[in-house]
Symmetry: C2
Subunit: 592 residues, 2 copies
């Protein structure tokens, strides 16, 4: 029986990549669901066959999952908790609320695309394939609030040696995206459509798919790697902050090429403030770093996505500039994080000595075993009392509520800001221009009167008209000076907040597991001391989460203070400049 | 045979007036075209019969004019000139360009609603009836640039003792008008849709319909009435300006009633700056004054229409305020005119002693014979050489070009201004409000964080949000403070400029007549000395026109200087106030 699917979003094939262009609403026939890497092979009504991102389609008939189906990034059903399987898979289906998984009410009646899935389907077994292939799927978690109409494309960067990777790394012009922005005259790249939830690669390690957080909760291995202490600070548990705040500068993008010039790429210069010695990195290196950080810290620390790969400007320059700006924002955020910035892999990225040093460090990082939930084994609450499960749960709930609410608030601001951007760069300056033209037009009519002594009026009227034309230009250019940063910051936070459902999900899963402690003891699955250890470890996890939340809060306060100041400062300047211009125009009229 | 007509505009019947509500595009059957007063009786498809303004309909089949048909206000065909009859009747058909009549090209091929009219129809005979009945039709001359969708209603004020007159004088609520404005929150009454061309009652006098301007050009009577000297000023021919500039204040509207309270009206207090003694006038008195001024000076001086009678606000107060403001503007303009302000009828209106004085003066004014083109017989160019016809024609052409161009410019500015008004009172403040709400929303989310020490940020963020809500309100209220006056002034000029085609038309007709001089002598219709007198009188007319144009120019320069200053001053204040508010908001964020 043929499997049909409906296309959810337009997708334009990259030439030479064996891809198939599809349009939203189109029905396609799936010819191979086992392609992997987030792709499926499909045939359209004209009989053309090619690859389509599986995230762009919705399979029409309920059927058992196959490895080619939508991959579940964090399948809580494996953990035998109260949360039903369909809810977890909702994470990766387009347009669904990632928070739904962790919603207290969600377990009652989950409504998503997969609700129709036959009960008893073993979703667990199938999801691992997709992960092992390295093809992470970035779901369009926040589509509702998205500024741009295009969903995130598939991230193929995990396939290090794949030819496609080179393609993605190239500077490309994308059709619809660039065009849709051109009309707004400057709204380019802002807002971004990158999927904002991170994929915690819990199931990258043998046996994990059968254990989830219990890998840590019930771990008997001694902790490996650098210890991560959590202290009791003024605001509660905090990470250990370094004396010197690391930062770096991403600058000087240079075009390089390989394969006899057939492939071109951009190399950015990254200069850490510590060594002040620049290193060069391509986008794919940043992406490699992202993957490593996600693997290693993702269960404890939300690692925001890199800026969209598919973000393209109308001009190459704009594209490069915007990507650089966002890589800078991402790097600065990573530098500000005490745990991340002091990690070996991050230090390697920022200050490798030479190519050999880089390659050795790279291999070592890729072999790191203290990844996934095992990161918690390195957490050491210093002088902090064990928390009971109620406290742990309360904190987790509180963070969940807050991050959800902030996510809504940020989305709201982004939506409003985007509309404002459109008005400021579209109809509003056009109107000021027309007012300016109308004044100048009237002035030139007056000049034709033949009446003597009205030069003072006509000159003043022309000047007033030109002033409104100037104002039109100022209005159109202003968003780049103020709204841009407000949008970028909120966009960054949107990305960051999109990671919390995953991070908090790990904690919720652990809490559920600890709650089952008595039952597990009763059925002989764990011993009483194991149960006690689990509870203590949940407390440790909670300290990590609290330290992370406190880090988030202090950064948030800093960031919003800064961006609001910047925004208002520029707004003041803007209105003052308009007032000044109009004052000048006013002064040219004769006082009578 | 039934006469059908198509409804051009929506019309809502006033209850108790025997009127019929009709909708644009509806077909009605005319049951009585001889109602007079600008009304016809019609039946709709549901068999309902009632009165409909004849200006609101277009008769479907070509047929001879009747007294109930559209009245021709200035029928140049009577003057035996080169201008064909249909062109002149175009003046009163809705939506046609009033300039077309006087356009050099117009005589070639006039295209208007009446083009289909059978040739040879005696339009002359029939048009006078309409005039004698007092039912002047205000054509919708500038509909293209109109701000409001509603055309001018019929002016019935000429029918002094008609019961309807009382109705028009009442304060009424009109359906669509008020509603269409309400949405814009304050755009009420601005712009107005009053017909802007004046009706020169040339054919009100026996024999005139056979003579036109030649009544003056070939007049043998000695001039009656006050002499109107024209001097050679710095800018060219000028009227004699009084030492003291008359002005008056229209204020203190009071509701009066008659017929045992069944009819109510508004009485305005008019106080001239000379006597400082207030007199009371109802709208219909202003309208009576307008009619007298039009009769007496209309051939030489453009007399702008009174503010629309049908202009209504959502609330009675708004309506009265707006009408008063416009009556003030109209009166001030009349006061500023040296010829009008010093005329007996105007002085009577401003400073009658008592009811008896008023009634006596009224009767006298209505019997004035120096009206129409005969006003030129009182013009006395002082120490100015006779102009030859070429000069006269050049000046006339120049004024025609200028007033046309300015008319376009003013219309353009009104259109732009109206759009700006809509944006400023509609979508723009809504957007600022949403920005404000988004900031406050984020602030309240932050407050819920449970993180200590962020009160400074949340307070500042709330304040910033409130600031944008304040700005929203400021933006919405600003047009009333600045754009309003710019619009009102331009609207006044639109009305004034709409009178020029008629005024200039009289001059053009005179020029044509003088040009025919030789032919008239040759055919024995006039003597050589009459021909010479005609030429001299055309020169006198030209001096009057030049004096009037110079008056127009100097007023225009004054008015536009003043209104632009006012507009820009308010704009500066507006932007400064926004900047100040934002500076306050900015200062509340913590400097870090």
């Amino acid at each position: 029986m043929e499997t049909k699917a409906q296309v959810l979003y337009d997708f334009t094939a990259e030439p030479g990549n064996n891809e198939l262009s599809v349009r939203e609403g189109e029905t396609i026939t799936l010819t191979n669901q086992n392609v992997g890497g987030g792709w499926i092979e499909a045939k359209n009504s004209r009989g053309e066959v090619g690859l389509v991102p599986e995230d762009y389609i919705e399979i029409k008939q309920a059927q058992p999952f196959t490895s080619g189906g939508n991959a579940a990034s964090l399948d809580l059903s494996l953990f035998d908790s109260h949360i039903p399987a369909p809810a977890s898979t909702a994470q990766t289906s387009n347009g669904n609320d990632p928070w739904a998984v962790f919603d207290n009410n969600a377990s009652g009646g989950v409504s998503n695309n997969w609700a129709a899935q036959p009960e008893g389907t073993e979703t667990g077994k199938t999801s691992s394939n997709a992960w092992h292939s390295g093809g992470h799927v970035h779901p369009q978690a926040y589509q509702g609030a998205d500024i741009y109409p295009y969903p995130c494309l598939i991230d193929l960067s995990g396939a290090e040696d794949d030819e496609w990777d080179e393609e993605w790394d190239d500077v490309k012009s994308s059709g619809g995206y660039a065009e849709s922005e051109a009309g707004e005259g400057g709204a380019i790249n802002r807002g971004g459509a990158h999927g904002s939830s991170m994929k915690i690669a819990l199931n990258k390690f043998p046996g994990f798919s059968k254990s989830g957080p219990e890998l840590y909760l019930l771990s008997k291995q001694p902790a490996k790697g650098t210890k991560l202490p959590v202290y009791g600070g003024e605001v509660g548990p905090v990470w250990a902050y370094p004396d010197y705040q690391l930062d770096c500068v991403v600058a000087d993008p240079k075009k390089g090429s390989k394969m006899y010039g057939l492939k071109s790429y951009i190399e950015y210069q990254v200069t850490p403030t510590t060594t002040n010695k620049p290193v060069n990195h391509r986008y794919k290196h940043f992406d490699w770093l992202y993957e490593r950080l996600l693997d290693k810290f993702g269960s404890a620390i939300p690692i925001p996505c890199l800026p969209d790969k598919q973000v393209t400007g109308r001009f190459e320059e704009e594209f490069i500039k915007m990507r650089m700006e966002r890589l800078q924002g991402w790097m600065s955020r990573m530098c500000r994080h005490p745990v991340i910035s002091s990690s070996e892999v991050f230090q390697l990225f920022l200050s490798y000595k030479d190519e050999k040093d880089w390659k050795t460090g790279k291999r070592k990082a890729e072999k790191d075993e203290t990844v996934g939930v095992m990161i918690f084994s390195t957490i050491e609450p210093e002088g902090l009392p064990d928390l009971d499960l109620t406290e742990v749960e309360q904190k987790c709930e509180q963070f969940n509520r807050f991050t959800r609410a902030m996510d809504d608030g940020v989305k709201d601001l982004l939506t409003v800001g985007n509309e404002h951007w459109k008005r400021c760069t579209g109809p509003l300056p056009k109107e000021y221009q027309r007012i300016g033209k109308a004044f100048q037009n009237l002035s030139s009519v007056f000049t034709s009167s033949g009446y003597e002594g009205e030069a003072a009026l006509t000159d003043a009227l022309t000047a007033a008209g030109k002033t409104y034309e100037d104002i039109a230009q100022m209005v159109a250019e202003q968003p780049k000076k103020d709204l841009h940063f407000l949008m970028e910051t909120n966009n960054e936070y949107k990305g960051l907040l999109g990671c919390f459902p995953d991070t908090i999900g790990v904690h919720k899963a652990a809490i559920e597991k600890v709650k089952e402690g008595d039952k597990l003891v009763a059925t002989g699955k764990i011993t009483t001391s194991e149960k006690t250890a689990m509870s203590k470890r949940a407390s440790t996890m909670s300290y990590a989460l609290q330290a992370e939340m406190n880090h988030f809060h202090s950064n948030r306060i800093y960031d919003y203070n800064r961006v609001m100041q910047q925004y208002l400062e520029q707004q003041v300047k803007f209105y003052e400049m308009i007032a000044e211009k109009l004052r000048n125009a006013h002064s040219q009229f004769t006082t009578m």
